[in-house]
Amino acid sequence: MPARDDQWLDAQAGPVVRSYVFTQGRTRPGGEAFDLVSTVAANPSGVADFNSMAPEHMAVLQLTRSPTTVVDIASDVDLPLGVVRILLADLRELGLVAISAPVSTKPQQVDKSTLREVIHGLRGL
């Protein structure tokens, strides 16, 4: 008797991705790369087309109504980071969110006043 197609999906098979269904099988985000702690903010004038978006897009978009980082979004929606990156890239392409880079940390570009603020803030905790 031929093995059934899905029989390899047993406990030993290891995790198999279902989350990437939300991304229609895509595994890499489109457009310019963004950092884990990039800030994502919804575009106030963006108009979401509910018909062309997955519920997961909506859930992510909802979280960006106040500026939020990529990792915070991933943690809040409880989806794998890679999936969230793709969903965010989609939303950016649709003009619904803007994604901005974190504070630059290149030694030549370091923002000293921000660093002093960080030290001050840590002392005050």
Binding site: A74, S75, D78, L81, P102, T105, K112, L115, E117, L125
Partner: protein, 204 residues
């Protein structure tokens, strides 16, 4: 609630200030397995879970007569990160780098744009932090070494550790207790001060 204590009072309801920083700063915590990275993050910040799934194989080589369904196998790396809201618009994120070698691929993602790193070391297993030190040195990512004082471990002079790890004279080595909030704060402050000091150095 979980965010209490770090948030500016009164802002805009329960969601206010939560990671909304327009300025986000990333600090890495590296070191061998079991050296206390998660303990240190938990001592000073609110810990949040993060799920990652990394693809091991892009597609199944198998050709099926039915639809061209891609089969993808992944490994799940459960991670967490710490968040410290310093001001409403200034948030510090702490990432423990996965200790096991098979997770090295995560390091590049984490290290990108990081302000700097703390290499946490256990003096009983000093060699465990060699890979982390190599990694940050090669990429010119500023770091400091923090010696976690485990009960029963012999206290070493920082100079001995500097020699053992072959570290530059200017690189800070601090002793800490990863369980203590005050101590964890001091470690982070030492790192940021070190980054500032580097920024002040004349360009060669």
């Amino acid at each position: 609630m979980a965010y209490g204590g770090y948030e500016p009072a009164g802002a805009f309801g329960p969601m206010a200030g939560r990671g909304r920083g327009h300025r986000a700063i990333k600090i890495l915590l590296a070191g061998g397995f079991g050296v206390g990275k998660t303990t240190l993050v938990g001592a000073v910040s609110e810990i949040r879970p993060l799920r990652t799934e990394e693809l091991l194989t892009e597609t199944s080589a198998r050709v099926d007569s039915t639809v061209g369904v891609e089969r993808k196998t992944t490994t799940t790396v459960a991670m967490d990160f710490g968040r410290i809201t310093l001001r409403e618009d200034l948030v510090l994120y702490l990432f423990g780098t996965p200790g096991q070698e098979r997770f090295w691929f995560m390091w590049d993602e984490l290290a990108l744009g990081a302000l700097g790193a703390v290499v946490l070391a256990d003096t009983r297993r000093l060699a465990d932090c060699f890979p982390a030190i190599d990694y940050f040195e090669r990429r010119d990512i500023p770091f400091i070494v923090a010696l976690n004082n485990f009960d029963g471990a012999r206290r070493y002079d920082t100079d001995d550790v500097r020699i053992a790890l072959d570290l530059d004279p200017g690189l800070p080595i601090v002793a800490c207790d990863a369980r203590s909030r005050e101590s964890a704060k001091e470690v982070l402050i030492s790192l940021v001060e070190h980054v500032l000091a580097i920024a002040d150095e004349p360009v060669h």
